[in-house]
Symmetry: C2
């Protein structure tokens, strides 16, 4: 594990890479009481030629700093941290499986370590990173998931912190997730407001491909960055690739608010072509159906089909870049 | 410190009271990543006759269980935990100062201890309690605070978890608190919605005493338990005492939504009699003024006055019960 301590008086101390070990913390440490904690999820990829690569690490660093600043934890120079991650990945290279779909999952984490029950800015913090080899999210190929449109619990709010990768955003989502699971759904689809705007799914951003009612044009759409959804690196990558590679094929790409009713109406007309979630874990995760107000909104997949065309293309494009099969500025060779 | 471990397979293990010591936790423990943590704030009081007392501990236990259940942590029988707290307080009696305003602050805490980066219900947890002697919140008598009405950051929302004592509710409030401090205010007064409803102040519930515009009657009011404010034990106690002891004096007591504009209008007319926050730390905390949209809303105190009549009465009544000067079912003799 990689560790860097910070104190308000001394700033960042020397980074250390040490064997994996327990943290020994006073029970009054502020991380246990007031959730002074944020994290990132990243991966190091190795291809058949033995090259080790990171995917858009500067995006993770920007978000990490945004998250930490929002809860009064210190910032760390993104470039310096990417260098540390690179050293770490080079040192632990033997733990990065060189096979498609495999990678070394990296978890940069920052916690407030001040021993104080007073509610205030932490005077000390620990930045650390742990790692684990991970296999393909869907070992036997894509598996489409089902979502439960959730309105009784609200994940995020304008003026809140739902766009940050804070621990605070996760624990409150588990009970709604268990309730969705009890009714046979894999994840929640978080709706917002009386309009029932579609925001994000479980711990993924959400995309829908529909055919426009008036123009008949194909559209790929996702909710805008209005403060209530996570600013996903994969979300951004999918949008960029869609603009670059789907637009020339006649697609429109839209970041805009859309409602669950709009999705359902497209499904009723056969205009909901496909839907998927995006995130670091699975890259893209196809959605089969959404349970909403006692009905099922089918998301364009045939019974024997596990992913739509855009979902498959995005996975291939992004994995091609992640493993360096396609040379691309998003992929950082270590 | 008091510790009780829980595992999903074995349930609660035997409670232990041990010397204060660090917690040794794997860096992948879910409390560090997803904020599986909740707590309570309570006090043990000792009076001049050496009696040790708790104040409405069953209320804290109910809320603790509500908080833990909301984030998929286990419940603990309230009665059994009060027995443990009583044993603890009896053992540590020498740390409870026997003087008015002094007490032993107790911090029951529960954290998820599962070592897993998967986002799911924790398979293990640790319930622990630490304690510290504390002195009077205002050693030289009341000191009225100033609040900044805050609309740009939102503490809680309907369908969220703002009514629970979760770590997740605290870290996001520090930056707004620092910003209020920079502008000369002690705490935030959290407004909600376009209507600018007054919800709570800093980490306290908020009360205002006004004179009704039409009837001229005196009214003590506080926001209702609609899911966006903490269900404070002191809030509940103040409401009960107001109904019992102020109503006969002609007061009306209201739990209802009210806006910042309504407060300001009362202040303009000289009808805002006083305002105060309530919480375990200070019991009641008088408010001098509220900064709102570039103006100051004065809360009824004269320049040389630090607390209004209701504030003073409430403090005297509640402390009288806490130390056993008045025998009352709220005070549990150990």
């Amino acid at each position: 594990m990689l560790s860097v301590e910070w104190t308000a008086s001394q700033g960042w101390l020397a980074p250390r890479i040490t064997p994996y070990q327990n943290l020994s913390l006073d029970p009054a440490t502020c991380v246990f009481h007031y959730a002074f904690e944020c994290f990132e999820g990243m991966k190091a990829y190795k291809n058949s030629r033995g090259q080790v690569r990171l995917f858009r690490p500067e995006k993770n660093m920007m978000r990490f700093n945004k998250s930490s600043a929002r809860i009064a934890l210190p910032n760390f120079t993104g470039k310096a941290f990417i260098e540390l991650i690179s050293k770490f990945a080079a040192m632990e290279e033997r733990f990065i499986p060189a096979a498609p779909g495999y990678s070394l999952y990296l978890r940069p984490t920052m916690i407030g370590t001040q021993r104080s029950l007073g509610v205030g800015p932490p005077g000390s913090a620990l930045l650390y990173m742990i790692a684990s080899p991970v296999g393909p999210y869907y070992p036997t190929g894509f598996r489409a998931v089902s979502l439960e449109a959730t309105d009784y619990a609200v994940r995020a709010w304008p003026g809140g912190v739902g766009d940050m990768k804070l621990g605070a955003n996760y624990a409150p989502c588990i009970i709604p997730q268990l309730q969705a699971a009890k009714r046979g759904f894999h994840q929640n689809l978080w709706l917002f407001g009386e309009e029932e705007y579609v925001t994000e799914a479980g711990t993924m951003n959400f995309f829908a491909a529909i055919q426009d009612k008036e123009t008949g044009k194909k559209k790929l759409m996702t909710a805008p960055l209005d403060g209530t959804i996570l600013e996903g690196v994969m979300r951004d990558s999918v949008l960029d690739l869609a603009r670059e590679r789907l637009k020339p094929e006649g697609w429109e790409v839209e970041e805009r608010k859309f409602t669950m009713a709009e999705l359902a109406s497209a499904a009723d007309d056969g205009r909901l072509l496909e839907a998927f979630g995006t995130g670091t874990a699975a890259v893209v995760s196809p959605v089969r159906r959404i349970g909403w107000k006692g009905r099922m909104v089918e998301c364009g997949l045939k019974e024997n089909q596990e992913a739509g065309d855009v979902t498959k293309k995005m996975k291939a494009w992004i994995e091609g870049i992640q493993y360096g099969d396609e040379e691309h500025p998003w992929s950082w060779k270590i």
